[in-house]
Amino acid sequence: MKRYIIQSIRLTVALTALLCVLYPVIVAFIGRFSNGAGNGQPIMVNGKVVGYAAIGQKFNKPQYFWGRPSAVDYNAAGSAGSNKGATNADYLKQVKDRVDTLLKYHPYIKKADIPSDMVTASGSGLDPDISAQGAAIQIQRVAQVRGLTVASVTKLVQDHTEKPVFGPAKVNVLKLNVALNELKK
């Protein structure tokens, strides 16, 4: 028994060096050669970081495309989903309010046009994407506020709709809004 204890202590020390020092240092070193050098992939505008491609941020001004509802209000220091169950009455009321808000700011759409991702909170609270339909319903509002033609904004959205070989189609809201700011009248 005593022998096992001593062996355990020594093995733990040796494995700590291997698994907790050597292993992560090797990976961190290789990671330096990745896009973003292992620090996450920032998006730059005029030499300034305005966000990370993977991290959704809060958009609620009318001149921008909006992202999904977030349980943490897009505070990326932490992360959380709503954890609301499908039959929770308070939650369903919240969803209904979101539907009404969307209808208010987009008077030209019908209820059936609203995709579920625009009225439900994401798992992380930091979802950077919306569905193509989620972007489509916002086009007219954004075009009106910015004085752009609907056709030019529609084209921009189409260009920013990613349709990967595997996985769902999506629109990265931050990238879309950055491109929107650069769009000429």
Partner: protein, 571 residues
């Protein structure tokens, strides 16, 4: 939609393509035959030398278990203190605080037992030092413990009659140097090149496009996420685990993570068949597990794609299925696939919030963890399944009126008693735990704990009950996922699930290894016409029936009170 179907099909096929050759390799490697990873030998010899271990020393099952329990106990004690005093130790750039004793108790047990139930949030509850020397360290070593225990069981059935079931240290170290470590490097690099942070940079601050000041948590996450999946651990770097867009930035990383959590549990089954030179038995078990997996997966995916009927009533389009708690880049189909696998293989990492899944999905997730033997965790999956096998052998023996035998060894009263006890311990822990929690919730709602019992539940009614049931089920299965709405960081949950975790881990390891050790010592009886063969499809179906009947009898009442009641209330 088609790209989502093809994504899931591709994930499954790639898993098979990797797992099958990996299983054959594991059988050879643990048998000590020549394999291409022999270049690791000097490293292993170095580790043995430093530790004063003679890897060739034979162990009987008692010595084997003693060695295993000793090193696990050491980690428990040492880790407990490191977590309490983490604020005074270096490598804490975000200035996070030390853990309360009850949280440290829960957390250290949770990581030692390969569960990774997290009652803290990764961004604020631990430091970079503890993420490394406790969390990541234990992710490797707890997985290797499970694998080593399983190989001990393999060894017991390889030869006709043996005392020696191999050397625990040898299997344990080899599981790390020749399996977990090399694969982790590959997976971590894939993740790092797809956008998961891998550097030691601390939180970043920037001004968003709209003008808000935003802080972003980062850190060397890729390293931990790789072993979190390969070792079926499941503890996330970030609070929301693999739903976090840095922990799981793209569909490709999602596929990588789902494949890596499945390959070792699958490979271990194939390794079992090859190692004991009864390949057919290995494939029959593999087949039963695969059927079980699809029985849980297909209804899960279909209930998630169907969307929330209550939201459908509002007139909103759910073309992409139920989206509450899910991420757009992953979509409901890959989320459903993941949630099935993460519950059957005891990873417990999540890429969506299970609390917000549809009620029926909750049933399948809970059942996956209750059964806990469809592939199951690293190594322990086959140990759990072995218990079902012994019960199936016993019941079929009674049915045909013969002394039950398994692989040429008589299964007698002592072995069956152990198997029966191990089968009974899970329902006891899960249901007694949930019952006590429900009692405390309803009777002592104002107890002065960090989270008052009356505030535990994030959802009312049946779903609230499911939150408590899920927590104990996950703890017992050493799964680690949760209905995260539960206010679980307080003395009641930390202590009660701590005990469930430790019993739910070690009894189902000790039991099977002991049975295997006892059987291995018995005289070998050659197969005859009267032998009940265990490597036939008929026996496979018999085992599946035993699994389904046992679990249905044990858990149906609890499921009926929670997710099933919620489902029917929606109609």
């Amino acid at each position: 939609m088609n790209s989502e179907i093809s994504g899931v099909v591709a994930s499954f096929l790639i898993t098979l393509l990797i797992a099958v050759p990996l299983g054959k390799y594991l059988a050879k490697m643990f048998a000590g035959e020549r394999v291409w990873t022999d270049f690791m030998k000097p490293l292993e010899n170095g580790l043995f030398k430093i530790s004063g271990i003679r890897p060739n020393e034979p162990m009987d099952w008692k010595q084997f278990l003693k060695a295993m329990l000793t090193i696990n106990l050491l980690w428990l004690v040492y880790g407990f203190f490191v977590l309490i005093y983490q604020d005074k130790l270096p490598l804490n750039p975000d200035g996070n605080t030390g853990m309360t004793p009850d949280l440290a108790f829960n957390t250290i047990i949770s990581f030692v037992v390969n569960c990774d139930l997290q009652h803290y949030s990764g961004e604020s509850g631990v430091t970079y030092l503890t993420q490394h020397i406790i969390m990541m360290f234990l992710m490797f070593t707890s997985a290797a413990t499970g694998i080593a225990a399983a190989v001990g069981l393999f060894k017991a059935f390889r030869d006709k009659t043996v005392d020696n079931i191999g050397n625990f240290w040898e299997f344990f170290v080899k599981a790390i140097t020749r399996l977990l470590l090399p694969l982790s490097i590959v997976v971590a690099v894939i993740l790092a090149f797809n956008g998961t942070p891998s550097s030691y940079a601390s939180k970043d601050q920037f001004i968003s496009l709209q003008g808000d000041t935003v802080n972003v948590s980062r850190g060397p996450a890729a390293e931990m996420i790789a072993i979190k999946h390969l070792g079926t651990n499941g503890g996330g770097w970030f609070g929301v685990n693999s739903a976090h867009p840095l922990e799981n930035p793209t569909y490709v990383t999602n596929m990588t993570e789902i494949i890596s959590q499945m390959i070792i549990p699958m490979a271990m089954i194939i390794a079992f068949g090859y190692f004991i030179r009864r390949r057919k038995l290995g494939w029959v078990i593999f087949g039963v597990m695969t059927i079980g997996m699809f029985m849980l997966m297909i209804p899960t995916i279909s209930s998630e794609l169907g969307g929330n009927p209550n939201i459908a009533k509002m007139g909103v389009t759910q073309a992409t299925g139920a989206m509450e708690g899910k991420e757009v880049r992953i979509g409901p189909m890959a989320t459903g696939y993941w949630s099935t696998l993460t519950t059957i293989v005891s990873t417990g990492s999540v890429n969506s919030m299970h609390d917000s899944a549809m009620p029926l999905t909750g049933v399948w997730q809970l059942l996956g963890m209750m059964i806990n033997g469809f592939f199951g965790g690293c190594g322990v999956g086959i140990l759990n399944y072995f218990i079902y096998l012994i019960i199936a052998v016993f019941i079929s023996g009674l049915m045909v009126g013969r002394t039950p035998e398994f692989l040429g060894h008589k299964v007698e009263a002592r072995e069956v008693k152990i198997a029966a006890l191990v089968t009974l311990i899970s329902p006891l822990l899960i249901m007694a735990g949930t019952a006590i929690a429900a009692f405390v919730f309803s009777t002592y709602g104002n107890a002065d704990w960090a989270v008052k019992p009356s505030n535990w539940l994030n959802n009312p009614g049946f779903h609230g009950f499911s939150e408590m049931l899920y927590e104990f089920t996950s703890a017992n299965a050493n799964n680690g996922s949760g209905f995260e709405g539960l206010g679980d960081n307080n003395v009641f949950w930390n202590v009660s699930t701590g005990f469930v975790l430790i019993l739910g881990r070690f009894l189902p390891i000790i039991g099977p290894v002991a049975i295997a050790g006892m059987l291995a010592k018995k005289k070998y009886i050659p197969e005859s016409a009267g032998t009940l063969r265990t490597d036939t499809v008929t026996f496979g179906m018999m085992t599946l029936a035993v699994i389904l009947v046992l679990n249905a009898l044990s858990y149906f009442p609890a499921l009926a009170l929670g997710p099933l009641a919620e489902y029917f209330s929606m109609r």
